[in-house]
Symmetry: C2
Subunit: 406 residues, 2 copies
Amino acid sequence: MKIAVMGGDGFVGWPTSLHLSDAGHDVHILDNLSRRWIDTELGVQSLTPMDSIQERTRIWHAETGRRIHFHLIDLARDYELLKNWLAEERPDAIIHFAEQRAAPYSMKSDRHKNYTVNNNVSATHNLLNALTELNLDSHLVHLGTMGVYGYSTVGAAIPEGYLPVGIETTTGDTVSQEILYPSNPGSIYHMTKCLDQLLFQFYAKNDGLRITDLHQGIVWGTHTEQTRRHPQLVNRFDYDGDYGTVLNRFLIQAAIGYPLTVHGTGGQTRAFIHIQDSVRCIEIALNNPPARGARVEIFNQMTETHRVRDLAEMISKMTGAEIAWLPNPRKEAPENDLIVKNEKFLGLGLEPTTLKGGLLEEIVDVAKKFAYRVDRSRVPAVSAWTKDIARTINRDPEGKKLKSVS
Amino acid sequence: MKIAVMGGDGFVGWPTSLHLSDAGHDVHILDNLSRRWIDTELGVQSLTPMDSIQERTRIWHAETGRRIHFHLIDLARDYELLKNWLAEERPDAIIHFAEQRAAPYSMKSDRHKNYTVNNNVSATHNLLNALTELNLDSHLVHLGTMGVYGYSTVGAAIPEGYLPVGIETTTGDTVSQEILYPSNPGSIYHMTKCLDQLLFQFYAKNDGLRITDLHQGIVWGTHTEQTRRHPQLVNRFDYDGDYGTVLNRFLIQAAIGYPLTVHGTGGQTRAFIHIQDSVRCIEIALNNPPARGARVEIFNQMTETHRVRDLAEMISKMTGAEIAWLPNPRKEAPENDLIVKNEKFLGLGLEPTTLKGGLLEEIVDVAKKFAYRVDRSRVPAVSAWTKDIARTINRDPEGKKLKSVS
Ligand SMILES: NC(=O)c1ccc[n+]([C@@H]2O[C@H](COP(=O)([O-])OP(=O)(O)OC[C@H]3O[C@@H](n4cnc5c(N)ncnc54)[C@H](O)[C@@H]3O)[C@@H](O)[C@H]2O)c1
Ligand SMILES: NC(=O)c1ccc[n+]([C@@H]2O[C@H](COP(=O)([O-])OP(=O)(O)OC[C@H]3O[C@@H](n4cnc5c(N)ncnc54)[C@H](O)[C@@H]3O)[C@@H](O)[C@H]2O)c1
């Protein structure tokens, strides 16, 4: 297949591109490299030393003889460029990672809120609009998030995208309908993924676009089979308070001797998936497109759920790291349950990589190797969900006064 | 109250501004005048000769001694200007009309789709973002549409915004929750109002903004008490295939001797409200704001429902006009029922102006008076929902070949 990977320079996009190229597909990365610019804005860098995308693809070619093509296109701002590229290349499938994906970054300031909404809505809408305009039947696979569901507190299992509800008619009968699971996003970032869902629903219905939306849990790990092949194929690995995600952050904190940063009671339950499984799930989704005219296909892309404090305790036991109990910068329920259905991927052959698989140690080793690259002042999460909350998170776990970058 | 009327130069915004000014409020219109530019783009004009906003407000002052202030601000593009204006003026309430509001216009081409999504999402989000950033407690009243519900075909009455559903827990119990009514928009324009809903839900929850969303039916009529006071206070009155809405269009068509343009079987049932009632409802909503921290208050702002072909037949009988049965440019169910709850406004004192109230004749009279201003070639609806549909709507009701303006 000819596959366009939008956002293929990112944390999940890069290993996905390698995996699909390795499997023999013709891979084209479209990316505006905004994520690298945000590193510059925040004054942080990936824990792993990451080469330019041009250099990475050159190494991949030298190692394997395969070409991954790179095109500098901003999906949100370069509609005409995007449309022309699609018209010319007519990819069989498109994987859409190209969004601002950090919840804390999206809540930093009014400027960051606007950026996240504009970037994500326009990127997704431009893509749908161009496919429709060109009458292109490419299968669109989008990376959504478990966060569109909000974290349910009613003790019900979260289905894969659709919820059957009974609606009472005027004659007193109850008609059963399947609706998009009601969304309850916890941040501006998560909200943009809910907006995406409505865009997908409309274009699938009105224009028959074939769309798969993957509601992904938090990705952990950094290496996949392909990124291990050469030091310069290494994946990005975020540790800072904005882009670092919970399990990976704990592992890095443990490696550099920084207290594990638990927010609130740590009673939040989250869904997780290893980067290697994430890449495999995307491949499975590519191989199982919905029919033209069908509703949006939705998978829950996660393999296990954990309570944040349990993770912290597990890693503390494994590594001897301390735990720092900090005020929560997010506005969210202090404790929540989370039961998630993921039968669809399991049924299609996914074999989950679990937390117990020895991979945790590998990640701590990677983190130790590059520990010298860490700026400790960038570890705490300083983006607060409201101005009231901001006042409560003014010290880092080492007792220093915090200053927000925004 | 000091009231900001965003989009106050438009069809509903102008009479609302007059009504509120008349009632003694301090009214400020913010508008980018994009609607006048779109008239220029489409080569059409309001049936009624409409003066500039500056001239209109001058006449209003001359007639009544009251001032309505006008500020040229683009809500979607001038975030900093908007924020500064809000910081300085600190309005008690904001009425938000400032969106691209024609479904056919939103479906004209890829450019029009992008414009509608970007304009509407950014206008709404900038407003919410600025209020939050400034910690301003202004009550925000937004004009939404009945179209967010989609046109239900299950025979259930559409509640005012929220639907109670039962969710089955893992222990087999059923927990009842009220969710935002599942949205099923029929056009890009309607979709943007569904996106707005999620933005409102988030900002009400995270930041405690006080928001009222009015899910409005199709507005008919042109005059209100205040617009009748002086010829230069006249309201805009759209007849073209993009901005003209169904009942008003039929009345104008009857007045100029043009066949009434029924799309498909005319089996579509729509919700309606007279412009005078629309203005009153907005005033009622202003007087009944939700509490800080409450969920978004939603009203169904409509007074009656009618099937399109019944309206055509009624007006044909009243005026002798012919009916033209045309292919439907929209992708929608050929027939639908529509039962809508509107107890909330009725309970707060709204006395509906119904179609039988003699106002129909007044509208035909206005239309006859300005019939000389009509460009007949602009009457047919030429924006098709898909390229396949576009091929079927190539002749106007007078048999002439159509050319899309896009
Ligand atoms: N990392 C996770 O834990 C996780 C969890 C759930 C869902 N996701 C989703 O998966 C996707 C990828 O996540 P990631 O961790 O790889 O993020 P990332 O930030 O590392 O990668 C995103 C890439 O998209 C690019 N991009 C952003 N906006 C763009 C635009 N307008 N035009 C072109 N390129 C643009 C960035 O430059 C970056 O290379 C995201 O959509 C994210 O929401 C990630
Ligand atoms: N007319 C109807 O039948 C009807 C029915 C249901 C809902 N509504 C809703 O009511 C509202 C008003 O409708 P209308 O018929 O008066 O529309 P309109 O197009 O006549 O008025 C909208 C006004 O908003 C302004 N505007 C648009 N984008 C703007 C921006 N970015 N910044 C500043 N100003 C901007 C336009 O210049 C125009 O003056 C709309 O939101 C519409 O969706 C209308």
